[in-house]
Amino acid sequence: MLIVEICMGTCCHLMGAQDLLDVLDALPADQRRLIEFKGVTCFKNCGKGPSVKINGNFLANATPELLFEVLQTNLQ
């Protein structure tokens, strides 16, 4: 199980956190099943958002493309 925490705080929201959620929703069902999504209100890393944690590993300045790549690597 891959734990994906995405910051939904206002700062990250401004920088496109919603687009990251869409990445999770667009995954094929068999991959989506392996992911546990957690919405977080702040990682205290504002200014480098959007911020994501994947199994505890921090990903700053996340973009949909970057997140997708990291997810694919972790799901392999």
């Binding site: 939904m8 705080g9 206002t10 700062c11 929201h13 401004l14 920088m15 496109g16 956190a17 919603q18 687009d19 919405g39 209100t41 702040c42 504002c46 949909p64």
Partner: protein, 507 residues
């Protein structure tokens, strides 16, 4: 709202930093730091070099401060802090940022086969086409961009390219000058923001009054936030309306009021005007008046139909009048999805003091160090009715007025129609004027999806539309007619004053 792109990110970073510096009282001394925090030496790089990028950024900062481009950033910061708002247009092309799109309108592609017929050469009235390197070649010094060659080519090998800003403007208000820089014709522009959203270089910007608003808050004035009904879901799908209100309180707004209350009053009064206009059997078409870009389009592009616009002020103005009646010293800040509202507000000095977009509000909140998602939701019920709240989405105004009509005059003959997009609205109204359509009530919305699709939103309009619908359905007040606030506002006199109803000096 499409995916958040780099242009949005840069704009939001600039606004957030300006807001933060203003709250912390260091804007005047530190404003130039933005040149190093937003554009870093490491990149990413979008222009030729870091210097150009910083020159563009300076323009962005001055626009964000509502200051002219020909003063220094420090001077601009001082002026904004002093509350000065330049009389430059609401939307402008940032001089350095416009990349002078080097587009030749007609281009011969690889599909050219250098055929024997050479219909392109034959079609060109200016003899601008010859064969070079086994392919047709258009001499740009002779080409007058008539497009005959494109139409003549049997292979479709000549393509037409247009500038994104020009293509986005359905009113033909933006074009390249001789130096290929985009220039806005303000006699045609209605500040809808379509060109701003379309420009891939982020070279078109609306000016912001975020610093001036923060200064009012810091000065201890009673600053009222008037929230447009499209605010639902703007700060995240999970965010509760009560959290937005709590955030506004925390950053220092004195009180927050919903514009949906003004919308209720407008719906009722607009329905009454419709009944009045249709007393005669052959009534005349009446259009809604709440979308300022739509109203501007009729005034500037279909002046003969000016009197068909309902005489009502917009819900923004109605709600603002209510605030000023109760607190004449209060400062009114309208917060919505719209850029054109900034222009509309200029027509109502002393009533609507400032206009911010949702995007600007979010940067103000972040700049104040507040996180909406960490606020208590509390209990919240809309003061507006279902009718007023659905103004936020396309078709909502029409539906609200129809609801009122069904209660006040169920027998009135109604031929309702609506359009989204200024080009569509214009075309439809022209057909109505020509008698080709049997419409007597028309809703015009400049943005696709209505207000939720405006240029100042933070969330995809399809999602917001659903959230608006749910929120409106949960309103305790079931209709605009039943909302006791409606009559109270109508007593303020919600008809547009004609003497004030001239173009703003910026136009």
């Amino acid at each position: 709202m499409p995916e958040i792109n780099e242009i949005s990110k840069i704009r939001r970073k600039v606004l957030t930093e300006l807001a933060q510096m203003t709250f912390e009282g260091r804007l005047h001394s530190d404003v130039e730091n933005i040149l190093h925090t937003v554009v870093t030496e490491e990149g990413p790089r979008y222009r030729c070099c870091v210097h150009k990028e910083r020159a563009v950024l300076q323009d962005r900062v001055k626009s964000a401060l509502s200051q002219p481009m020909d003063i220094s950033m420090t001077e601009a910061a001082a002026a904004a802090l002093a509350g000065v708002v330049s009389d430059s247009p609401i939307i402008q092309v940032l001089p350095v940022a416009c990349d002078q799109c080097p587009l030749d309108r007609f281009i011969v592609t690889d599909a050219c086969r250098n055929c024997l017929a050479h219909s392109c050469i034959a079609s060109c009235p200016k003899k601008a086409i010859s064969v070079v390197a086994n392919r047709s070649f258009i001499d740009k010094t002779k080409c007058v961009e008539c497009g005959l060659c494109k139409r003549s080519c049997p292979y479709g090998a000549i393509i037409e390219i247009s500038r994104p800003c020009e293509r986005a403007c359905e009113l033909g208000a933006i074009a390249a000058d001789k130096a290929r820089k985009a220039v806005i014709d303000y006699s045609l522009c209605v500040h809808c923001g379509a060109c701003k959203m379309a420009c891939p270089f982020g070279a078109i910007s609306d000016r912001s009054m975020i610093v001036q608003v923060i200064q009012q808050i810091k000065a201890g004035r009673r600053v009222y936030a008037l929230l447009a009904p499209a605010f639902i879901g703007q700060f995240g799908i999970q965010v509760r309306p009560g959290q937005v209100l709590a955030s506004l309180k925390k950053v220092g707004f004195h009180d927050t009021l919903e514009v949906s209350v003004g919308a209720d009053a407008v719906a009722v009064e607009e329905a009454r005007e419709f009944i009045e206009r249709n007393r005669e059997p052959k009534g005349q078409v009446m259009t809604t008046s709440c979308c300022p870009a739509f109203v501007g389009m009729v005034e500037k592009h279909l002046p003969t139909m000016k009197d068909n616009i309902s005489s009502l002020v917009s819900p923004m103005v109605a709600a603002a009048m209510d605030v000023k009646k109760n607190d004449p010293e209060g400062i009114v800040v309208f917060i919505g999805p719209c850029i054109a509202k900034k222009s509309e507000a200029q027509r109502y000095p002393g009533i609507v003091d400032f206009v911010l977009t949702f995007e600007e509000l979010a940067t103000l909140i972040v700049g104040a160090g507040v996180n909406v998602t960490e606020m208590d939701a509390g209990s919240f019920a809309s003061a507006g009715s279902k009718d007023g709240n659905i103004f936020a989405r396309a078709g909502g105004v029409l539906q609200a007025v129809q609801n009122v009509l069904s209660q006040l005059a169920p027998d009135v003959e109604l031929q309702a129609e609506r359009c989204e997009g200024l080009g569509n609205c214009k075309k439809c109204l022209q057909e109505i004027e020509a008698g080709k359509r049997n419409t007597n009530l028309f809703e015009g919305m400049a943005c696709t999806g209505g207000c939720v699709g405006g240029p100042g939103v933070l969330t995809d309009s399809r999602i917001t539309t659903k959230l608006v619908e749910n929120f409106a359905g949960a309103s305790l007040e079931k209709s605009a007619v039943a909302n006791p606030k409606s009559e109270e506002l109508i007593k303020l006199g919600l008809h547009r004053p004609h003497e004030q109803h001239k173009d703003s000096p910026a136009d």
